[in-house]
Symmetry: C2
Subunit: 322 residues, 2 copies
């Protein structure tokens, strides 16, 4: 900066002015400084700037657990929206274990982030979040209960109801559930909503089979589907794929013998055999909304209303009318 000032024949302060606010600057002077900057290939030092302003303009994004379609989509939307707002996303992934999450949180705090967006699929994350004493605004991407102003959520129960109502409208009364891992909010909520629907509509009861979200676990669950069940409601698409595979290996066709409904609408689901009927969620919308809420908090504005997102049914070919 000193060199630039010398070359342009001005003071370092004028160089600073050129870089930041351009008010009260003679165009001629500005051009001279700009030329000097160009010639010297000068770039301002972020660390020094941060040190004096106390601002980093960066927003931390914490994503625990293995990558998956929903998370990736949301995080990508968060990144984009953050950048568009003139902030820098500091995306940090972590394992699902609490110490890994704690480390990531510490890393983020050390970088003086001005806000934090956390993908919070299970309780471990939320617990660690409470540990963090920092006064930056925090928004969680949950799929659990709606916490006005601090979380962006998708109404899982709505999705489950859409699935079960559809299955019922197709004549199904004997539906078995393949759930996700019990510590995941999504799995809990979908299962609870499923149980509720079973009770409310007097549907047949089957033991719920718990997978781990992955197709492999879906296959295992698929081998245990009750012979009396006419339909299977899976907590995500990958497991649905595994279930269909297992059913097929056992000589039962989908949807001929058994109908299957998934959840998430991953891109592959449109092209499985049969194409999977599933519940679609607006992952990008969730990410974008999260950033809107964060920015509102940063600027001290009132958070825009919105309520949870509503997922919807995508009918394809994995359900047969009885």
């Amino acid at each position: 900066m000193h060199d630039v000032a010398a070359l342009a024949g001005v003071s370092h302060q004028t160089v600073s002015r050129v870089i930041n606010r351009s008010a009260n600057l003679r165009p001629e002077t500005r051009d001279r400084v700009l030329a000097a900057i160009e010639e010297l290939g000068y770039r301002r030092n972020m660390a020094a700037r941060t040190l004096v302003t106390g601002r980093t303009h960066s927003i931390g994004v914490l994503t625990p657990g293995d990558p998956n379609f929903g998370k990736s989509s949301s995080v990508q939307a968060v990144e984009r929206a953050t950048r568009e707002a003139g902030y820098f996303p500091l995306v940090t992934s972590a394992a699902s274990e609490s110490d890994s999450i704690a480390k990531a949180l510490e890393f983020l705090r050390d970088r003086s982030i001005e806000a934090l967006v956390v993908v919070a699929p299970h309780d471990t994350v939320l617990k660690q979040l409470e540990t963090l004493d920092s006064d930056v605004p925090v928004i969680t991407l949950q799929t659990g209960g709606y916490d006005e102003g601090h979380a962006v959520t998708i109404n899982q129960a709505d999705g489950v109801r859409a699935a079960i109502d559809y299955l019922r409208s197709m004549g199904h009364r004997r539906i078995q559930h393949v759930s996700g891992p019990p510590d995941y909010f999504e799995a809990q909520l979908r299962r609870a909503a499923f149980d509720e629907a079973v009770t409310a509509h007097g549907l047949a009861q089957f033991p719920t089979l718990a997978g781990d979200w992955r197709a492999d676990s879906g296959y295992v669950c698929g081998t245990q589907i009750d012979a009396d069940a006419t339909a299977v409601f899976c907590s995500n698409d990958q497991m649905a794929l595994g279930v269909i595979h297992a059913l097929s290996d056992a000589g039962r066709t989908v949807p001929g013998d058994v109908s299957v409904v998934g959840f998430d609408d991953i891109p592959e689901s449109a092209h499985s055999l049969p194409p999977l009927t599933t519940i679609h969620q607006d992952f990008e919308g969730v990410g974008q909304r999260a950033v809107e809420l964060i920015l509102a908090q940063i600027n001290g504005e009132v958070a825009p209303e919105g309520g949870p997102f509503t997922p919807w049914l995508v009918v394809r070919e994995s359900v047969r009318r009885l």
Copy 2:
């Protein structure tokens, strides 16, 4: 820091020593300082530290394009390995367009990264990389030609050969190719290797159908598969899924009427109907190797040898013996 020093009754310099090298410190003093730090909840300021040391301890990771299984796996491995080495990964995604990549590169440079890992699936990224004049070590994750010391690659031709040899061993002589988008190195290399194999073994010639990696485009290509082809070699698994779907819609079964081989071995492929025979790539290994090379460059060591990774065939049920 000043407050901590005051509380502990020492100078700020002693506090600094406690935080950094612990040599030449009376244990009693250290404990006193540590207690003060704890009591005041003191955390050192990264910006100030960076400003004076000139080191950020962070490694930039640039990932252009939409998220996909391979990229996500590699990047995750890069993150993990970076962290284990005591560095901080600054993961930055970007669109595939050159201006978006340029912006991301600028962002990274502004953060004074000490090294850069770039996922480089197409020429646009490489071009932008040349623009970047910075003297930090750069490693690209390519799938293109092997550039000793600056790129980590997977030998695509080996993978293609494994697929075609397998198909040939099963009696196939009429194989059609569904390629990825022409600007992607992977697509180019796989197609070139395919063409070479066709020529070398005197296989039947079919027009190559170009998709865009997505299952939807695979479906479209699938509707155009030549009636004489007994097998389809797809440049990735998603497109293979789409092809199978289209074939099925047209009343042709896989592998009964047509055999299909994919590439990548995404987790869903094991549970498609039929389970997809495909080529497996060690994405995590690539990410890890990239970090090893980067660290070697940072430390001025000689880069560990290794050569390109070799993908392998995973036989499942989408190929029939003729």
